[in-house]
């Protein structure tokens, strides 16, 4: 079939992003031609400020070098402005006479700087701040002239002023409004910003209306006069008083425009063959000037150009970050408040910190942060997700503290970190590496940064820090990933929640069936989605869905823990941490017989045999099994251990028999797979020697019964378990614990620990099912017992079944027989 022709007018960030998204979806659908008025390939316009400030060069900010166009078969006309669209003949005509026919046309003409209609606006030395040409002119002028005036105290104006100041000019910012960045900041934050910019040598004239620009003897602008008669010297005037959607071309072709090219939720204009994205567009009456919404639009548009027809753009919540090095400023959503809203404010002028959160009907609707923006990404996420904040309202102001405890020397503020400070302790990535990758590779999302630098891709404790670095490097272009509807992985657009729900509603039982039904994009998923799907299937349909060993991580396939040298570790189960001389003797004999190099106690108080060769595993298990020992599951997303203290059996302080309780719990939960690992502890008295306060379930004996705590965590980010309820008997401990774990098993997302699960759904939700509703609690507990009823010791299976045993055998090659075959 002959390819259709797609013509893109506009070689900027929105247009090219749409082309990139389209190539991902339907690489062969179109012959693509791109027109760009500027003589450059697509570059990262939002990084012009660092270029002006001398922190980067033009070369650093090119997003798609010319080779990219060639590699992807995209024809590029640079330096040609399209001046006419002939909608009848379906072609566009450029200023140099170039014509291109189209089947579909994408307008991405961007915006024009607003030039004040004042005398002198055409004088040499009067420019806007929009593209590489303007930036070059500013840099050149800074080397030869002294006085710069920036008209406009918004984001762009302040970044221009800062850059010119750094290049040695004497800079005055003129602003019509009573405070700076009034569209992004309230007055308190703006005043603090002004003070700190003044300390850097910038001058401000607020509530000043410019009347005229005055021509000097050289013919160049020399001064600026205000309505009140004041005159100030100006060798360079930068107009940064806002932008207007560039709709001239669309209007000339009689395409409906109203403060932008009007598009529907599929980014289609009133001409069905013509789409539009970017700053030239008016969507639901709004023209966006920041890059994050443009990328969302590009994605939606590409989906429709590719004939997929399922994406919708429904507008964006905006966030802003000023890209002036050393100044931390963040705002998002409706930060001004108003009727029906509450404001939570922290104001410490001497400390240089100001935070305002705007709350409406128990949701966060906006935030302004100055001085400490560490939690900006989190607040933005809460705004976008419209998450109910009722439970966390009292400590909302103090942030999420989502930066983990470990691996980055306790640093929590990205902006203050030097380039050589280590951010990711797992993969040894420094701040400078991350910033460099973001800039040179044109990265915009956390996922991209993880892929390219590996930062925060292992344990994830530094995720918050990486997000901050990303936000402060790309400014307003940063969009935190949506936590609610985030796709599981690159193989699908569906979120964990949607997949779980679909498996239940459609009674899906196998991975291939699910991938067909949910239109997976890859033939057999990836190492990230397959284990999740396998877990969702077997946990939703126990007894019906069949476990797929090939979709399990090696540890769960081999029932042992892979080590850095490819050997395995084996941890026999010791119920409640109790053992016998006979068991210890068996372990000792196994360790000697198989020359186990390391024997150590685990954190869960079990014995770990480290450094066993894979082919020896079945033999080790056979020996341990003969002594009655079974798999300890120290390798799985499963029940790990129930740690116990000595308890009333021996301890003089003990109030409850914690060892017996722990053994009963561990036996009940044997063979339980879960979204992530699950650890329990039972202490016999409030002294809590079993450290139940940092376990997924912590049971603490008191004289009148037991206190139950849930969702603790002692790992990456230490989380103290939350009090669930108090119960009287051992039976109740079993039922409540079982019900809580079953709820987590049914609702938790894969690799979500109980602390994250409970943070997501809320403790009230858990209490409603497990504590307040006895019927539901019993049903949950019974479903857990049903799922676990026939669980066999996996070691026994590996020893007895030849097909399973094969997994552990190495094939010895008979190289002497070489040459025999066909």
């Amino acid at each position: 079939m002959k390819k259709q022709k797609l013509v893109v007018v506009g070689n900027g960030m929105a247009g090219i992003r749409a082309v990139e998204e389209l190539l991902k979806l339907a690489p062969d659908l179109y012959d693509i031609t791109v027109f760009g008025a500027e003589p450059h390939p697509n570059y990262n316009r939002i990084l012009l400020s660092p270029v002006l400030a001398g922190e980067m060069t033009i070369k650093d900010i090119i997003l798609n070098p010319l080779g990219w166009y060639a590699d992807n078969g995209v024809r590029l006309h640079v330096g040609k402005t399209v001046t006419k669209i002939d909608r009848t003949a379906r072609k566009v005509i450029a200023d140099d006479g170039t014509e291109e026919e189209y089947d579909r046309l994408l307008l991405a003409t961007g915006s024009m700087p607003f030039i004040l209609p004042i005398p002198g606006r055409d004088l040499p030395g009067v420019i806007s701040y929009r593209d590489i040409k303007d930036t070059d002119e500013m840099i050149a002028t800074a080397a030869t002239h002294k006085h710069a005036v920036v008209i406009g105290g918004g984001l762009l104006g302040l970044e221009a002023a800062n850059g010119l100041k750094l290049r040695g000019m004497d800079v005055t910012v003129v602003h019509l409004m009573p405070w700076l960045m009034e569209r992004q900041l309230d007055k308190s934050a703006a005043d603090m910003l002004k003070t700190s910019l003044e300390a850097r040598g910038l001058k401000f004239l607020l509530e000043k209306q410019t009347e005229a620009l005055i021509r000097g003897e050289s013919g160049r602008v020399c001064a600026l006069r205000f309505k009140d008669g004041l005159e100030i010297p100006a060798d360079l005037v930068v107009m940064a008083a806002g932008i207007r959607p560039n709709t001239a071309l669309a209007e000339s072709a009689k395409i409906y425009c109203n403060r932008g090219i009007v598009v529907n939720d599929t980014m289609q204009t009133y001409d069905p063959r013509i789409y539009a994205v970017g700053e030239c567009v008016a969507h639901r009456g709004i023209a966006y000037g920041l890059v994050a919404p443009l990328f969302e639009q590009a994605k939606v548009c590409a989906n429709h150009l590719a004939n997929f027809g399922i994406a919708r753009y429904s507008g964006s919540v905006l966030s802003t970050k000023l890209k002036v090095t050393g100044i931390d400023l963040f705002s998002a959503g409706n930060f001004m408040g108003g009727e029906g809203t509450d404001e939570i404010v922290l104001n410490d002028p001497s400390g240089g910190v100001y935070k305002k959160l705007v709350v409406k009907n128990d949701t966060l609707v906006g935030a302004v942060l100055y001085g400490d923006t560490a939690d900006g990404a989190w607040y933005f996420q809460l705004v976008k997700d419209a998450q109910n904040i009722h439970e966390i309202r009292d400590h909302l102001m103090f942030g999420q503290n989502h930066v983990g405890d470990v691996g980055h020397a306790g640093k929590t503020h990205a902006a203050a970190m030097p380039d050589d400070a280590q951010v990711c302790g797992c993969n040894g990535v420094c701040k400078g590496d991350i910033v460099k990758a973001i800039k040179s590779q044109g990265l915009f999302t956390l996922e991209d940064v993880r892929k390219h630098t590996k930062a925060s891709s292992s344990c994830g404790s530094c995720t918050g820090l990486v997000e901050q670095i990303l936000a402060s490097t790309v400014g307003g272009a940063y969009t935190p990933s949506e936590s609610k509807n985030k796709p599981m992985c690159g193989c699908t657009d569906h979120s964990h929640g949607v997949v779980r729900q679909t498996i239940r509603e459609q009674h899906l039982l196998t991975i291939p069936e699910l991938m067909r039904y949910m239109e997976w994009k890859t033939p057999s998923g990836c190492a990230s989605c397959r284990p999740a799907l396998n877990y969702y299937l077997i946990s939703t349909w126990p007894g019906e869905a069949k476990d797929d060993p090939q979709s399990r991580f090696i540890n769960e396939r081999a029932h042992a823990n892979i080590q850095t040298d490819g050997t395995y570790s084996v941890v026999p189960r010791m119920w409640g941490g109790l053992t016998t001389p006979a068991e210890l003797r068996t372990i000792a004999e196994v360790a000697e017989k198989y020359e186990v190099p390391t024997v150590k106690m685990t954190g869960g108080a079990r014995i770990d045999l480290l450094g066993i060769k894979k082919e020896d595993l079945p033999k080790v298990w056979a020996d341990l099994g003969a002594a009655g020992m079974v798999s300890g599951h120290a390798y799985g997303k499963s029940i790990r251990t129930v740690k116990t203290c000595v308890g009333a059996e021996h301890c003089r302080f003990g109030t409850q028999r914690s060892m017996a309780m722990g053994v009963k719990l561990e036996r009940m939960l044997f063979g339980m797979w879960s979204p992530h690992k699950v650890k329990l502890a039972v202490s016999g008295c409030p002294r809590n020697c079993a450290e139940a306060g940092i376990k997924d379930i912590g049971v603490i004996g008191v004289d009148s019964g037991y206190e139950l705590y849930v969702a603790g965590n002692g790992g990456i980010k230490t989380e103290v378990a939350q009090f669930l309820c108090k119960v009287k008997s051992d039976e109740e401990v079993m039922e409540y614990s079982g019900a809580f774990l079953q709820l987590y098993r049914e609702e938790g997302f894969y690799l979500e620990r109980t602390c994250h699960y409970v943070a997501r759904v809320g403790l009230d939700h858990v209490k409603a099912a497990v504590v307040d509703d006895p019927v539901k609690r019993k049903e949950l507990h019974e479903r857990l017992l049903f799922a676990l009823q026939d669980y066999e010791d996996p070691w026994q299976a590996a020893v007895e079944k030849p097909a399973v045993r094969r997994e552990y055998q190495i094939i010895k090659l008979e190289e002497a027989t070489a040459g025999v075959a066909s």
């Binding site: 190495i810 070489a818 075959a821």
Partner: protein, 103 residues
């Protein structure tokens, strides 16, 4: 170049699974994909030497069990943006038997 050496029956490798072959040229991981194609790679990840045979096979790629490097089964190349390459071996499946050629 030497000829083809018999490895095992195709059925002795699980679909989307692998087996390890000990050879004079080191351990070789033999992979079987969902569509019954077979591939052979040196059983060492170019990143930190992880045993690729123990990874999850998806499409014609395997993910190393140690740190998640993705290695193409056809060419042994790491999937971008990761960099690195592991040695590949000629492998074929004929009439239910898997054959290997040493380099």
């Amino acid at each position: 170049m030497s000829g083809w050496i018999r490895v095992c029956a195709l059925d002795e490798i699980a679909p989307q699974g692998s087996r390890v072959v000990a050879s004079s040229q080191g351990d070789i991981a033999i992979f079987r994909t969902a569509d019954d194609s077979v591939f052979g790679l040196h059983d060492k990840c170019p990143h930190k030497g992880g045993p690729l045979s123990q990874g999850i096979v998806h499409g014609d790629t395997v993910t190393c069990p140690l740190h998640g490097f993705k290695i193409g089964l056809k060419d042994g190349e790491a999937v971008a943006p990761d960099k690195g390459c592991t040695r590949r071996f000629e492998v074929k499946a004929e009439d239910g038997t898997v054959w290997l050629q040493l380099n």
